[in-house]
Symmetry: C2
Subunit: 446 residues, 2 copies
């Protein structure tokens, strides 16, 4: 039986999951794959922690460089994370002719163009299924299953931390800070949650998906990113009154000579399947011109789900090595010489529906002044909720718009902030609800 | 650029979709795959119908055998359906060293063991992604993405006709016959709907999934099958009162030395993601020991969604041909010599929760007589709904059970049918609700 040897760099949570599967599922894997896949070395700076695995003698090491140098190792699995030493190790491993598997979305989103190019030049495979959506086979779907489709759009809940927090706020009507603390206590959020809650992790993932879907170079910088830290229970309650839920969505849509790529809290109809993905779970819908709407759903993180995706990449590459068929599927789905640079549409050009929540003085004429400014900026209203009078102080004033242009919305809000009847800059949440567009079309036809 | 030539047998709905994609998406496919995939011939008895495609001269033919014999053709795509001539053509093509792609679940469920064995012996690839769940990559997921997982269970809505009809009954509270007529009028059901509505098509699909998941030979005959034709709006209304929806589910669970494989209308909690898959759409959840719960969702049928899955198989095989890597992934996920014959658990051994709807005389003592018989068969009740008194005639009496054994349930119902207070054999619907089990455990602990 053929043998493929694997070197693991980084034996933290996911690295441990990978090691566990390669060791404990060796027999199952070989009964499927017809090869022995052997974890020859696992490198980590910490050899003391009990990882709940029985490593054979000599497997665990602190010397990552020696693992990379080992001529018997075919595949390097990088589970260190970050864009520093992980990048060096990967490039180093490729220079030594080793195939690479990684879950490192930050690295691929920032240095992917360089890494995939190098892999192509050297005739090496790179597996990165676990970089987006954990165990969901979204990378394989885009690279293989949807090969005959023009991808029209993608919508994803790609960060379990944010989805957990938003689910918590929705369920308990607790403020963001409480939900975040609870997520941290349960291990769903890091001590410094910025990367997750401000949407950057989601942006890393969308940068990768965009390239795969449309055949463009990876472009993280132009993705619009807005996190969830400003979402209040009040907004969730109003969303419900309109039949919506609020999710942090990664949204991408193909346009004529560009594509949309944006991350922001989004109101979506409560009966949408993706609106019913709760807690730390992930989901991604892909719309292709042949398949229509599809969705994948599963654990987006965690030791074993992510480990499972990493091992599926190891097996894919092992099959290619054994069959002499490296480069079977190009790294970024398209042939290297067919990858273009397609621009991301500036957010100012977005046309969508908006939810505004103003803190307004409860005085006669306020509504007409606000709607007047909006109207001057070509923003027409679909619904307005004005909350009952308080003894004194501002009251929430909720507005849903017809299709409006982001640039106009931002200009109008600047103008509105000058009005003395509004306390703060309003809360703005973008709405994705295609049924609203139809409704507008109907009104237009009248 | 490498060229792979394809021969299509059968140019009906899905065959036309395949032809459309191979012709119209040739450029997109080659920009991804780096090969030219050419539809050399499409055979059909009907050359007259306008299929909305411009075939090049000589592509369309009535001579399927000539297509199979053509030495330039690498891959035969069988889109005829059924277990007769389709089987002959496939074996014939394999005898000529041609790889095969098919969407024919009936054929694979009944002759798959023979066909996969022959392919293995001849060193040929068989693609069949489109046989289960249309465009959803469930076959690829089980064969590749979940390679490191022991599959613990699968639950699928795998027949769009049934899901459409059940969605219709739920939405309109119309009887089965009306919903069926509407499905037929809209093209979601055949003139003879038996294969779909009685669950046989779903069983074909589950037979394939079971083999893939557990490494067993395909065994259609022992799958328990019950269709949806007896479901009434009344049952749907009562299901709602208990927080359930009714779906025709394909259910499979791994047990110690066997596995469950059953198709029947099932009550599932309304907040389950799969309970929210409506209309003709399909979904399948797979639970693996590493990944936990995952779900795929999409169009389970239709010209372009199914065509897309077929083309993804063609591309996969083309990549293997070009790379000299045929048999890269074994046909049924496991190596041929590792495939066992694992028995399907007899339905009599099933332990689950049940919903009964009796038509009972509204007389004193009826409830105690019925529950007495159930109790004698070790069936204890969780909930009872007795509907208000009618002027005369039977009234519905609804019961939900704690965990009970199917064999006992059937015996009890036989005994109950002898009682003079019950009009007909009751409606029985199995419930899948793991939260009920926990609840029972709690009661037991008291």
């Amino acid at each position: 039986m053929k043998k493929i040897q694997v070197g693991l760099l980084g034996c933290g949570t996911v690295g441990t999951g990978v090691a566990k599967l390669l060791i404990e599922k060796k027999e199952l894997i070989s009964s499927r794959v017809g090869m022995e896949i052997i974890l020859k070395h696992a490198a980590d700076i910490d050899l003391e922690t009990d990882r709940g695995i029985t490593f054979e003698k000599g497997v665990l090491t602190t010397d990552a460089q020696a693992v990379i140098n080992d001529p018997e190792i075919d595949i390097i699995v990088e589970m260190i994370g970050g864009t520093g030493i992980a990048r060096e190790f990967i490039i180093n491993a490729m220079d030594r002719g080793k195939h690479v598997v990684t879950a490192n979305k930050a690295l691929l989103a920032t240095h992917g163009n360089e890494i995939f190019k190098l892999a192509g030049q050297k005739g090496l495979d790179i597996g990165y299924e676990a970089s987006v959506g954990g165990c969901m086979p979204i990378i394989k779907s885009l690279r293989e299953s949807l090969v005959a489709n023009d991808i029209q759009s993608m919508t994803g809940i790609l960060n379990g931390t944010c989805n957990y927090i938003l689910s918590k706020i929705t369920q308990d009507r607790s403020p963001f800070e409480h939900a975040l603390s609870e997520a941290q206590a349960k291990g769903f959020a890091e001590a410094d949650p910025t990367l997750d809650v401000e949407g950057f992790d989601t942006a890393h993932k969308l940068a990768i998906l965009g390239a795969l879907a449309y055949g463009t170079t990876i472009n993280l910088e132009d993705i619009f990113v807005e996190g969830i830290s400003k979402i209040t229970p009040l907004d969730i309650t109003f969303a419900e009154q309109f039949g919506y839920r609020i999710k942090l969505l990664a949204i991408s849509k193909k346009r004529k000579n560009s594509f949309e790529a944006r991350i922001h809290p989004t109101m979506i109809p409560a009966n949408n399947l993706i609106a019913n993905v709760h807690g730390s779970l992930n989901a991604v819908t892909v719309t292709g011109d042949a398949v229509g709407d599809t969705m994948l759903f599963g654990h987006g993180a965690g030791m074993m789900p992510t480990g499972s995706a990493v091992v599926s990449d190891v097996v894919d590459i092992a099959r290619n090595i054994a069959g002499g068929n490296i480069g079977r599927v190009p790294g970024l789905s398209f042939q290297q010489d067919r990858i273009k640079t397609i621009p991301i549409m500036p957010i100012a050009d977005l046309e969508t529906h908006y939810y505004f929540r103003f803190s307004a003085q409860d005085r006669p004429g306020v509504l007409s002044r606000i709607s007047g400014v909006l109207g001057n900026h070509d923003i027409s209203l679909k619904s307005v909720i004005q909350k009952g009078r308080k003894a004194k102080g501002p009251v929430p004033l909720i507005m849903l718009t017809h299709l409006a242009r982001e640039a106009n919305v931002m200009k109008a809000l600047d103008r509105l902030s000058e009005l003395d009847v509004i306390s703060d800059r309003p809360m703005v949440i973008r709405i994705e609800d295609s049924s609203l567009n139809h409704e507008k079309a109907v009104i237009r036809d009248e």
